[in-house]
């Protein structure tokens, strides 16, 4: 489904902000929330008409305005507690364009997840929608330029809904018979392999890994043009989705507890350099957050600290710019989580020189007291901070539908347990470490007398400590 550049007679001066209904004041459109999803208010009608036009014209700037600002404004004003009109209802206004309807439906479901609680049918329908959308992008010939923000949000939301579904599926206690039947029957929906396959397919079909390689020698200018493709009316959708899927894979593997694999997937992107990922703030923060977390679990504390420091500085400098954005709350939350992770890393692996002064002062303010307690081996604090900062882990396999117990916390509990046993091992060693710093060589008997333990026990501690 190709969009040719403008043969539409509208003209560029006919912008969304100038449309007639606005001239009579915003309150002219005030309505009671309407649950009839087939009714299309005028505001929505103009929204889709203009959005459709801008997409056909590949006017990326205007698309972004509509997507970022107007969609949020209309949601806030008219759909605070209800869904947008159904895709079938708006389809006549946009020439029944198949791809546009898929995109609209994606926004529709996103809105439901954000403002309402999705039903099981809606969850499954959303999966179907993503399947159709990705199929068309992978195998059809989609010729559009969409803003990177939108494309990132698509991948982000895709994984978020997967996560949400796994959590939902594992809470068996309150399920009705009908829900259980649906879950049993449609085992393919939000199946972990399906999710991973789509992300992998986007990466492979777009050839993004090769493109990033070529970028380094200047063969292509993917990064230089921020992913957009202006030569010969190209399309950025597949390539950029492939790019963001790399981050997507890192995230999914971390949620499953496979940290090593996640980091391997991220290799094509160098987070120590700016790139397409750093131009979408949500993407940058997500990427570095999962990178830090994976390194923490792999015990690569120094690497985690460095990356934490880097991203916290960036957030600190750019926070103000995003105050108006719909993502602001998310950014703040991740900021707090990253400080918690940094506190944990520094308590396990003191490295004064790696942390910037600005970050350090913020850290002392937010986590100073907790860090003191962690240094005194207070396990409860490790537990608290880890639980606050960790992602919402998931168990990839479907639960046993016959046992009506809630499984959703299992994955999290496992990761927490393993993390705390790591911490406990490290506790034994901090005292030895301090003695070993003083002496270049010390007979075991002397060290034993300092530490007030007998020799064989000390040997164990010592061997254990040098190994770690």
């Amino acid at each position: 489904m190709a969009y040719e550049s403008s043969s539409y007679g509208g003209g560029y001066d006919d912008s969304y902000e100038e449309r007639p209904e606005l001239r009579y004041g915003r309150d002219a459109e005030q309505q009671e929330p309407d649950y009839d999803t087939n009714f299309v208010p005028d505001a929505v009608q103009s929204f889709v008409v203009y959005l459709y036009r801008y997409i056909r014209e590949k006017n990326v700037y205007e698309i972004l305005q509509m997507y970022e600002l107007n969609f949020q404004k209309l949601s806030e004003r008219m759909f605070k507690q209800s869904p947008w009109p159904a895709a079938e209802a708006i389809a006549p206004y946009v020439d029944n364009d198949h791809v546009f309807c898929l995109l609209y439906r994606e926004l529709w479901f996103r809105h439901v997840y954000a403002r309402l609680t999705p039903t099981i049918t809606q969850r499954m329908d959303s999966w179907d929608n993503y399947c159709s959308l990705f199929q068309i992008i992978l195998h059809g010939n989609v010729n559009m330029q969409l803003p990177n923000q939108w494309l990132w949000d698509m991948i982000d939301e895709f994984i978020y809904q997967f996560q949400s579904f796994c959590q939902y599926r594992a809470k068996l206690k309150t399920k009705t018979e009908q829900e259980l039947a649906l879950l049993r029957e449609y085992a393919d929906v939000w199946n972990v392999y399906g999710v991973l396959n789509y992300l992998q397919a986007l990466i492979e079909k777009s050839n993004i890994i090769q493109i990033l390689e070529d970028d380094k020698d200047g063969g292509t200018n993917f990064t230089a043009q921020n992913g957009y493709d202006f030569q010969g009316g190209g399309s950025n959708v597949l390539k950029v989705l492939g790019y963001f899927s790399i981050v997507g894979l890192l995230r999914v593997h971390c949620l499953l507890g496979d940290y090593y694999c996640g980091l391997k997937c991220l290799l094509p992107i160098d987070i120590h350099q700016p790139g397409v990922y750093s131009n979408v703030v949500g993407c940058q923060i997500t990427t570095v957050y999962y990178y830090v977390f994976a390194n923490l679990m792999l015990r690569r504390y120094v690497e985690a600290i460095k990356a934490c420091n880097q991203i916290l500085l960036i957030i600190h400098k750019t926070k103000q710019d995003h105050q108006a954005s719909s993502q602001f709350q998310q950014i703040l939350k991740k900021n707090e989580q990253l400080y918690a992770l940094l506190a944990i890393c520094l308590s396990l692996c003191p490295q004064g020189k790696l942390v910037d002064e600005t970050v350090n002062s913020q850290l002392r303010e937010k986590q100073g007291e907790k860090m003191l307690r962690m240094q005194r081996n207070d396990e409860a604090v490790f537990d608290e901070l880890f639980s606050f900062a960790c992602p919402k882990f998931i168990t990839p396999s479907p639960p046993n539908y016959d046992e009506l117990v809630n499984y959703n916390q299992d994955a999290y509990r496992l990761q927490l347990k393993l993390f705390l046993s790591e911490v406990r091992q490290q506790q034994l060693l901090s005292s030895i470490r301090s003695y070993l710093k003083l002496y270049s060589a010390i007979p075991i008997s002397k060290l034993a007398s300092f530490m007030d333990v007998d020799e064989p026990t000390l040997r164990l501690y010592e061997d254990g400590s040098s190994y770690l």
Partner: protein
């Protein structure tokens, strides 16, 4: 899920120590399963190794030969790891400690020591009161003076990038 295959992977992961492979595998195995055999034994073995309780390790390993002998080279890999740990902590250590760590005694240990003395720079001395003291070769871990302090030095490549600007 094929328990046998997973168990074998875990044995290989133990052999990969000091790499964190075993721990990484643990993240992926559901908690309930970890409490069943053979996983419980493997986790105990891993714990002994990580806390350097070699005597306990070899005892437990002996009791569970059937899980471990399916993977060839297990014993050698663990011995290699034990030696690695010892070389990090000790400049000199009693023969008894070494014997316990690599589960060798008597003639085979003597032969092993000879081999190391000849090839790897070990030394064997007589200890006061009988027994032997083994000296391990110097490396940056057991002789801190050897540790290159790179914290404050800047590699030449970075500095050379400044030269065009400075002149």
């Amino acid at each position: 899920m094929n328990i046998q295959i997973v168990a074998r992977i875990l044995v290989k992961a133990l052999m990969a120590l000091p790499a964190p492979d075993f721990n990484l595998c643990m993240f992926l195995i559901p908690e309930k399963l970890q409490m069943e055999e053979p996983f419980l034994t493997l986790i105990t073995l891993a714990h002994f190794l990580e806390t350097a309780r070699f005597r306990d390790f070899w005892d437990e390993a002996e009791r569970n030969r059937q899980i471990l002998e399916v993977v060839p080279g297990f014993e050698q890999a663990i011995q290699r790891f034990a030696l690695h740990v010892l070389s990090l902590s000790y400049q000199r250590l009693p023969r008894l400690v070494l014997a316990e760590a690599i589960n060798m005694e008597g003639l085979s240990l003597d032969k092993f020591l000879e081999h190391q003395v000849v090839n790897n720079g070990w030394s064997v001395e007589k200890a006061p009161g009988g027994g032997q003291i083994i000296g391990l070769p110097a490396n940056e871990h057991n002789y801190p003076e050897l540790k290159k302090n790179i914290a404050d030095s800047i590699p030449l490549e970075h500095v050379s990038k400044l030269f065009p600007v400075l002149t």
